[in-house]
């Protein structure tokens, strides 16, 4: 009996040891990035690389936020924030409404439209990026927030997700609302929307990170450095030719770029997990 407990105890510690090593392994590069953002340029270049924070923390971050390399990081973060929020909210609103239409209304071509939306799932942004660029350029939306947001706002995945969720909502609920006198949009607002709360939260987290991490699209359509988003901005900071890379500032920017997604995930973690696990019926 005692032997069994001992064995279980050993397994317990081994598991934790494994997890801790794994965590350190993953966390180490981020730690290095953080260290690099707190020391001066000569210190980074001179081996061995320091493993403890230096004294340049405020200096480097101030420099990044205010001046940056091409554009101030504060401006780039604002751009990213607008884009990520715009995409997340836009996608949620549009896919909620289209899923509502597809599930609750009978109209000619309903199936066709659903499958059309579904088909776009199979075409990633990269495949349609040239024609999309053409359209956006013709609308004069290069170097603008609308150009950053609108082409990425239609979402087959989210529509599909909400469709599946709405289909699990019992028909009697819609009928009860009808008997209670709720018109369709009233039913949508009062009943469907509150019931989708956790799903919306889960999607918001995923879509916010999706929008924040967009790289190729902003790279194509923002030529003006003041419209750059932070994720592509980091790449833009890398020197070309003989310029010297300002690694401490680049690393400070990288750390700054990680903060908003982390805040979103942590603050919505509870709702997010509930949204993925159950649908609260």
């Amino acid at each position: 009996m005692s032997g069994m407990v001992e064995k279980r105890g050993a397994g317990y510690w081994m598991t934790h040891l494994g997890l801790i090593i794994g965590l350190l392994f993953i966390f180490f590069p981020i730690w290095l990035a953080f260290i690099a953002s707190t020391v001066s340029q000569p210190e980074i270049v001179k081996p061995p690389m320091p493993l403890l924070p230096g004294d340049q923390f405020f200096e480097n971050y101030r420099k990044a936020l205010v001046a940056g390399v091409n554009a101030p990081v504060a401006k780039m973060m604002l751009n990213s924030m607008v884009m990520a929020l715009g995409i997340a909210f836009g996608k949620i609103v549009i896919s909620l409404l289209s899923a509502f239409a597809i599930v609750y209304f009978k109209f000619p071509g309903r199936r066709l439209f659903f499958w059309l939306i579904f088909l776009t799932l199979m075409l990633p942004v990269e495949v349609r990026i040239v024609p999309t660029y053409e359209v956006v350029a013709n609308f004069g939306m290069l170097n603008s927030y609308s150009g950053l947001i609108f082409p990425l706002i239609a979402s087959a995945t989210a529509t599909f997700l909400f469709r599946q969720f709405f289909m699990t909502v019992p028909d009697e609920l819609a009928e009860a609302a009808r008997v209670d006198g709720a018109r369709p949009m009233r039913f949508f607002w009062d009943i469907l929307l509150p019931m989708s709360r956790t799903n919306i939260a889960a999607l918001f987290v995923i879509l916010f990170i999706y929008g924040w991490n967009q790289y190729l699209w902003p790279l194509l359509i923002t030529t003006d450095p003041s419209m750059n988003t932070i994720v592509m901005g980091i790449k833009q900071m890398f020197p070309s030719g003989d310029d010297i890379a300002d690694w401490p500032v680049i690393m400070a920017t990288s750390i700054l770029a990680m903060i908003p997604p982390v805040i979103v995930v942590i603050s919505m973690q509870k709702l997010f997990i509930r949204g993925l696990v159950d649908s609260e019926k």
Binding site: R178, D180, R186, D190
Partner: protein, 334 residues
């Protein structure tokens, strides 16, 4: 409070007609139970009265007005659904108040009406709870409360008790009946359970494959079934159908129907073999097989000694208890 009239109601899904013309006049305050096996169209009929299904032909009138083209909310009805259909994110109070809120009833009146209904249904202590924190019976009450607060002209019940356990079902059955008596609201109640139909109904509509086979008071339907289907459906255990001696039967008769309680085990008569017996306490059901293989049930008092399995017995009945049906299933006139 209102009368409900159905005139030649039909319903088709595509080319298939599922309801073939139903006529019934329901009086003000009457409790009507629509009963039938699954797939007979009873729920569809109710949903047509509610306005959740379109009417293919005929006319639905509530309080003398044609309502075929009105939305459910404009028909002055309230409905209780089989799975209760409570809004999961709203409290009991909000669930009951929702219809009134949409109708823009003043807040004070909403509160007053909901509290009244809650008192009636013993839900006062649960008003702030969510539906998922309630038991099945309580949810059932909330669903009824939601119907009551709207003070409709007609209550529609769509198998409201079928998700409850047997004991609770009996209890809620009584409560529904008392409530309906107290409020005096015309009610239509759909069920597949013939016991519910017998106990609740002022009159019942027995449906079979989209037709109303018989409309009448429960005991009348029990004593004088108009078709073989009704005879077999109403009553538990069902009526026995014997291919018996038809010499003195009316012309066209094909089957002899006789209720289990009208059969007796006797010293002589039709010979049969006992398959098994069910002692239910107050009564005993003796299941027998006739020589040609037809099975029949005899219901006898528990005080009468019952035969053992495999024993050969004789069946006997009074001529006056016989009911004859023709080859089309319809009752033969005496």
């Amino acid at each position: 409070m209102a009368t409900v009239t159905l005139k030649g109601i039909t319903k088709s899904f595509g080319k298939t007609e599922v309801i073939h013309g139903i006529d019934v006049d329901i009086e003000d305050g009457e409790f009507i139970v629509i009963v039938g096996p699954s797939g007979c169209g009873k729920s569809t009929l109710l949903r047509m009265v509610a306005g959740l299904e379109g009417v293919s032909g005929g006319e639905v009138q509530i309080g003398g007005t044609r309502v075929n083209d009105l939305e459910p909310m404009d028909r002055d009805i309230a409905m209780v659904f089989q799975n209760y259909a409570l809004y999961p994110h709203m409290s009991v109070f909000e669930n009951m108040a929702y219809g009134l809120k949409i109708a823009k009833t003043p807040k004070a009146e909403i509160a007053q009406r909901v509290n009244e209904a809650a008192t009636l249904l013993q839900l006062e202590d649960y008003l702030q709870r969510r539906p998922r924190e309630l038991s099945g019976g309580q949810r059932q009450r909330v669903a009824m409360g939601r119907a009551i607060v709207r003070k409709p002209a007609v209550f529609l019940f769509d198998e409201p008790l079928s998700n409850l356990d047997a004991k609770l079902r009996v209890q809620m059955r009584l409560e529904i009946k008392q409530l309906q008596r107290r409020l005096g609201v015309t009610s239509l109640y759909v069920t597949h359970d013939q016991v519910e139909a017998m106990t609740l109904a002022d009159r019942m509509i027995v449906m079979n494959a989209g037709k109303a086979d018989q409309i009448g008071a429960p005991l009348e339907v029990y004593a004088n079934p108009q078709t073989e289907f009704v005879a077999g459906f109403i009553g538990s255990p069902p009526m026995n159908f014997l291919p018996a001696d038809l010499t003195d039967a009316p012309q066209g008769a094909k089957t002899l129907g006789i209720r289990p309680e009208h059969l007796r085990l006797a010293a002589s008569g039709t010979q049969a073999n006992v398959i098994y017996t069910e002692a239910l306490g107050a009564e005993t059901l003796v299941h027998v097989a006739l020589t040609d293989g037809t099975t029949a049930t005899v219901r006898q008092d528990a005080t009468v000694p019952h035969p053992r399995e495999g024993e050969t017995v004789h069946l006997e009945w009074d001529a006056g208890d016989r009911i004859f049906f023709g080859s089309n299933g319809a009752r033969c006139p005496r």
